[in-house]
Symmetry: C2
Subunit: 607 residues, 2 copies
């Protein structure tokens, strides 16, 4: 589609009964009047777009109407020969009456509605069996780009992606539920009413000699699941984004200086379009050295004999590989951060728009003391608008080879010990470690617990350090969330990988995605949980470590109209992988070097 310089309303791919195509390309220039009918070239363009977007096959006959959408009367009146034409749009319908009626009932013009695909997946409904179904969410734009804050309530449609027709349609119209106001939801700079926030003084990460890295490829494999609340119009909102949308195809072009710093190096990506044509996306990945003013290590010594105070500190500079993928309302930022001491930090950030739902309420009833669970399944973030509570789960497939393919998974339990009257030891308790090498996949299904802590290592049990410690890397979780769904719930069955934070499986080439390959049709039969249940040997084998990073998200008003980025991370940390601190010989920054490049600092620092 990129090649046609045309945009489409809704994910055309999923919307088989109606579409609007904006013609902003040279073709439009050929016209002399805003109301000129579509030219042959435009008709062909539309058809090609529809076919490329796989809304129709070349052999399909599904288009009922296809015409120029007339601009607003005022626009037409305001236009004079010679003036630039207003944007030309082709409006097409396969004439799905009920939807037209629903819009009419609400007095909403179709051209201002946005149709969002919400992949369905299996919920055990017999008549859905074997079908590729997609739910459609209806939003109302009417001039705002932040239509996510304007859900149209009560319309419920499922389209059959193979049959290319509406599979189910319901309209539960509640006239008491108005459209949420769009006031102040537009997040674009030009839409902000003055005064804007005072800009900070210029601050930049500068590398006059360029970066210290050379570019090489890097692959990030992960999966995302979002869950929403379970009312009739909402229960299906359990996305398997990577499988259903494609993280690659939805990778966003990074905005220099705002998504990544000035010292970033950008990589383009070549992605396959739905029609199989290659699409080149620019600035999909950026690499940069992060200088966050962390310290690699430091010590101040005042007690050394015959020596005055010693202070040794080494700054930490890390290499970050970043991509952002936008999946409808959410923007996911994934960083792979590489430290010079061998530590790898993986961070996931989430921004964009929260999932919303229209409501009649304009105020939250709050009572001092006990407040029973509110019926909104979310938080009122604006008048008539609920930010729906939900989770995010990311599954990372970590195919580590520690000094070779044959590895083992070592758990080191921190065990509370009781001391029973030992002479000279008044202490009653202490803790110690108890190590265990997982023999089979069942031994490596881990649910983290603060009360019963453990450390987790992938080791090469055939290689040790000179001291005999097994050579390994340690998985260091940080803030995360565990699934709150029941095991027999359909999303939990299809995304069973969220049951545990850690899994280890025997390596198999075709076991790539925790949620399986075909998530639309998945009944949970080809997923991480199923592979793990084979209970294969993972001791001294080629193994894969899976980590599930979770977020519970209960929105707050600060998330409206666009949410500040929330992030979490985990680390892969060398643990007896090196014989000693590998950055002991790192060199400190020298003031003179920096002054030479940037001039003397205007601060009261004492050097």
């Amino acid at each position: 589609m990129k090649s046609y310089k045309c945009s489409m309303q809704g994910f055309g791919k999923f919307v088989s009964f109606s579409f609007v195509i904006l013609i902003s390309c040279s073709l439009a220039a050929a016209h002399t009047h805003p109301l000129d009918p579509l030219s042959a070239g435009e008709l062909l363009l539309v058809r090609t777009v529809l076919i490329n977007a796989s809304i129709m096959n070349p052999t399909d006959n599904i288009i009922a109407t296809l015409e120029v959408e007339e601009p607003e009367k005022l626009v037409v009146k305001a236009w004079n020969p010679g003036k630039e034409l207003p944007p030309r749009k082709a409006l097409g319908l396969s004439d799905y009456e009920p939807f037209q009626k629903s819009l009419a009932k609400r007095g909403l013009p179709f051209s201002e509605t946005v149709l969002l695909p919400l992949p369905s997946g299996w919920f055990g409904v017999p008549e859905d069996k074997g079908k590729r179904l997609s739910n459609v969410q209806f939003l109302y734009a009417n001039g705002t780009v932040n239509f996510f804050m304007r859900p149209i309530n009560g319309i419920f449609a499922i389209v059959d992606l193979d049959e290319k027709r509406v599979h189910k349609y319901r309209d539960i119209y509640d006239e008491e539920i108005p459209l949420p106001s769009e006031k102040g939801t537009d997040y674009r700079l030009e839409a902000q009413e003055p005064p804007l926030l005072q800009p900070l003084n210029i601050i930049s990460t500068e590398q006059p000699n360029g970066p210290s890295f050379t570019v090489n490829d890097h692959i990030v494999i992960f999966r995302i699941q979002i869950r929403q609340d379970p009312s009739e119009l909402w229960f299906f909102k359990t996305y398997m984004d990577e499988g259903e949308y494609g993280l690659g195809l939805n990778t966003a072009s990074l905005q220099p200086l705002n998504d990544c710093p000035r010292n970033a190096h950008y990589l383009d990506a070549v992605l396959p379009s739905a029609s199989g044509f290659p699409v080149v996306k620019s600035n999909c990945i950026c690499l940069f050295e992060r200088y966050a003013r962390d310290v690699a290590w430091r010590h101040t010594e005042t007690l050394a004999p015959h020596v005055n105070t010693v202070t040794e500190a080494r700054p930490k500079v890390t290499l970050v590989v970043r991509m952002v993928t936008t999946l409808g309302n959410y923007d996911y930022q994934v960083d792979w951060e590489f430290q010079s001491d061998g530590l790898i930090r993986v961070a996931v950030g989430m921004s964009g728009m929260i999932q919303t739902k229209a409501t009649k309420s304009t105020s939250t009833k709050y009572e001092e003391g006990n407040v029973h669970s509110d019926s909104l399944h979310g938080v009122l973030v604006s008048e008539n608008l609920v930010g729906v509570i939900h989770d995010h789960f990311f599954s990372f497939r970590l195919d580590l080879d520690i000094d070779g393919p044959k590895n083992s998974f070592l758990t080191s339990e921190l065990k509370r010990r009781r001391i029973h009257c030992v002479y000279g030891i008044p202490r009653k308790s202490y803790w110690d470690t108890e190590k265990h090498v997982a023999q089979t996949e069942a031994d490596a299904r881990i649910q983290l617990s603060l009360a019963q802590p453990s450390e987790f290592f992938v080791i090469n049990s055939e290689k040790t350090t000179r001291l005999g410690n097994p050579v390994g890397y340690k998985l260091v979780p940080s803030a995360t969330a565990a699934s709150l769904l029941d095991p027999d719930d359909f999303p939990e069955i299809r995304a069973a990988f969220i049951k545990n934070q850690i899994w280890v499986t025997q390596y198999h080439k075709d076991e790539r995605y925790a949620g399986g390959e075909f998530v639309y049709q998945s009944h949970g039969d080809e997923t991480l949980s199923v592979w793990s249940s084979k209970n294969r040997s993972i001791a001294n084998e080629d193994i894969v470590l899976w980590y599930t990073l979770g977020f519970h998200h209960v929105p707050v008003q600060e998330d409206f109209p666009i949410m500040p980025m929330v992030s979490s991370s985990f680390e892969l940390k060398p643990a007896n992988f090196f014989e000693r601190n590998p950055v002991l010989k790192a060199q400190p920054n020298k003031v003179a070097d920096f002054d030479a490049y940037f001039g003397e600092v205007q601060s009261n620092s004492e050097e």
Copy 2:
């Protein structure tokens, strides 16, 4: 002491039976020969140092010998008139024979030993009752500044800080346990054998117009506890550092460009010395704006009708207030980070030297499969050297006043719900929130659980947003650790604050330190746990939120000879404190502005 330009071996303050003072001041210049006896001036100097360091009172008569310590013979021989004198040292003893014997037995000269105070605290031993006792650890320097890696095994001494004498002394000499080698433990740059690590290209955070902040005071109140393993020589190593050492007095002077960036602003601190004299420490606190390339918020929109792709991203610049305090072997870095969206992030980093213990082993016995808990209570990090397993706990006293002093503590439980056959809803389960306002202190003793998650808010229950949500701030924990000790263990009694991650108490001016005011004599009687047990009302009162941040530390070889910084954090996040995203109107960086200051970027970024 600073004023005398003299340094002392060991924490003189605690070492009442022997000391060495290095005289590097002008007084030394008066001499003509390395073996010249101490001059009157030098004797007076020593006495003043001892009094100022409160090793002795002006009225004490405790000094048995006080003489010049003769340099090594070779040094004296190498010296010729006119040459600069070797460092002069005054050696003093109150002649504690057993210790001299212990050293002789091991063939170790006293002048190379370092005596470390390890505050004792109450362990229920009757004859210790009411005494201010300090345990002494013995280390051997012999030329290395990293004597922490050279513990002398088997000597066990407790000194009485009031009586200024040895309270208990034992020597369990095991000739099979050698001194760990000092080879390669020196972390100073000049001690590193080439080749050093290749330095990275210059990277700097630059603010040509200076910082965007103006300086004002900030206070950080916290407490630290470290626990070690419980063998006879170790059970007492349960420090209450702030109370026993004083975080203020041990604040390290920050090293510009390595501890803090070029754009940092430094503050000095005026601290009281033990003798009550004011001591000015330079560069104790630094403030700087961090530009870590995080994103405040972002979104890419491709679905807006009549609009081409929208990308809006805002960079995140935060204000960091940093201090580092060095307590013997450990360096603690504490950051208070303030975001423009109102979020406050508190981070604690730990570096320096791990706690060590000498051992006869030079190799770890490792068995494939089950490995029973090793008897070292730690990890072999070098030949004959064990890195001892331990915990770190930091207690943060957070006296929040959300829109006024009268606040409440609101817990929002994330509750799993079961769905029983509702028509049209195939889902089996979902989760929802259940809110509860803590009425008394007992309701607010929280142990975090991944399986039963909750969110925690300090709210002003008399103020709501326009939508009726209570105005509040949310406590967002990240990685932490829970105590593994038994409740009846003495350290757990005295530091009972580690039992819970969250406490809320009614505000009382004198309830300042989670471990109480006088931790030496403490029997756990005036601590957070005791205050909480009063179970006072905390609903709509002036309340204090306490957060315990914990680390379990099982050392690895990478921690030798100096440990890479480990850090964790927690956040105080606005939750319906603002009516909407407060940084919606933030402005993006503009390429032209930056190019103007720093020149065009040499990268393949597409703008």
